[in-house]
Amino acid sequence: MSPESLSLGKDLIGLESLSRDQIRGILDTAEPFKEISERAIKKVPVLRGKTIVNLFFEPSTRTRVSFEFAEKRLSADTVNISASGSSVVKGETLVDMARNLEAMRIDMVVMRHGASGAARFLAERIPSNVVNAGDGRHEHPTQGLLDMLTIRDHMGQIEGLKVGIVGDVLHSRVARSNIYGLLKLGAEVAVCGPRTLLPMGIEELGVEVFSRVEEAIEWADVLNVLRLQLERMEGGYVPSLREYNRIYGVSSARLERAPRDILILHPGPMNRGVEIDSDVADGPHSVILNQVTNGVAVRMAVLYLLAGGAPDTAEAAKKGGS
């Protein structure tokens, strides 16, 4: 594979705009990075001297910590900013904040934001690399990538697999990144959930729609179970958590009736006893913790590829060197 086809350009905003080769390239690059986290000294010097700002306007533990581990294991210097403790509460705009950070000479921004499109908005306005760590309902590309890496690890390949996404697809950026990525790699994708939590016209993305979770289980090789955000109940999307569990909960009783063993993924944080039962989450076919481990490797791969893909380095590459 040529380096050109692998280059991600300046930013990673979503999987929708990436090619199949670019997605495969990230997954292949993540493979050797897994080993670094198993070493006694979990550090390589490849991003030494780079400064990365983790800008989190929404609460996040797993994603923020995973990015931070990835950055530190590549020897980058990192700064974490969360909305509650930042100048945002004083009314500063996103762009002003980013420009001020730029003025302190940073190289990359990893951003989580509640507004769909925030990552692209920022990427178009600052010269630093921008990595989308989740923007509203739009995309969460590194989550999609780590889901695909985990599926590939356990199933051998993604092409031809049937992957069901169950739950609150309407509000889920994870669902969108999964749908874009999995379809590009040749999987069949279906979504399943109450009609109130499925976006209108979702079929147009090329996915099947099941209204009963039993049908999805009957069909799928892999289930990605989405978190039911508890505030959705107050929004009137589901009558009650108990009812949601009774009708859409992924339970071992339901899985036992499946014609094959189904690989179980969940992007976390889990609501045990709501969208997924404990015996499934902790069961033999759950790869939920493997997803977390793979998350660090995938993010290392993305940071590594972006660090060399900036225009000035591409320019320097043309001049050559040994």
Partner: protein
């Protein structure tokens, strides 16, 4: 150098490794990808034939330790580093590469080894030393010294990456 000449050089290198070390005990052969690790495998055979047993093998991928990421961009494929399960603490590491040129690859490999442990000793062994050093690094054991011009390339061919075993001198371009 044709296959026979390379084999003779490797046999001589194997004897020198055993001599320096006083036998095969406490040795670990670590090759630098993507041809040093193949040469390490051949050296392991030679050491066995020269009266030793199988010594542990390792392979280093130095991509993430290079000093030119900023100028040439990321290498598309980062390889995996695999060291013997016993690690490298306290052992005599024979670091093996095909060609010694600027010395920068060896610099990167030494830094990477230091992140894995503290060997008792590291010995640098190369099949070909072509001169042209940019940093002060010299090999301890050399298969063949070659005088080269800047526009010549030394190509080491090792199966299974290449169809045959040989060292060839080619005109045109700096080493990539």
């Amino acid at each position: 150098m044709d296959e026979a000449a390379v084999r003779r050089a490797l046999a001589r290198i194997a004897r020198e490794i055993l001599e320096r070390n006083g036998g095969p005990d406490g040795l670990v052969l670590v090759g630098i990808r993507r041809r040093g690790d193949l040469l390490a495998r051949l050296l392991q055979e030679e050491i066995r034939e020269a009266g030793g047993h199988d010594v542990p093998l390792g392979a280093l991928d130095i991509t993430l330790y290079r000093d030119d990421l900023a100028t040439v961009g990321p290498r598309p494929l980062v390889g995996e580093t695999q060291l013997p399960p016993g690690g490298i603490d306290g052992v005599n590491v024979i670091l093996i590469d095909d060609v010694l040129y600027t010395g920068r690859t060896v610099r990167a490999a030494l830094n990477e080894l230091a992140d894995y442990g503290r060997p008792a000793r590291i010995v640098l062994c190369v099949l070909v030393d072509r001169g042209g050093r940019e940093i002060p690094i010299q090999a301890d054991i050399v298969g063949r010294q070659v005088e080269t011009l800047g526009n010549q390339r030394v190509e080491v061919r090792v199966p299974p990456l290449d169809p045959y075993l040989a060292v060839e001198l080619e005109e045109g371009g700096r080493d990539p």
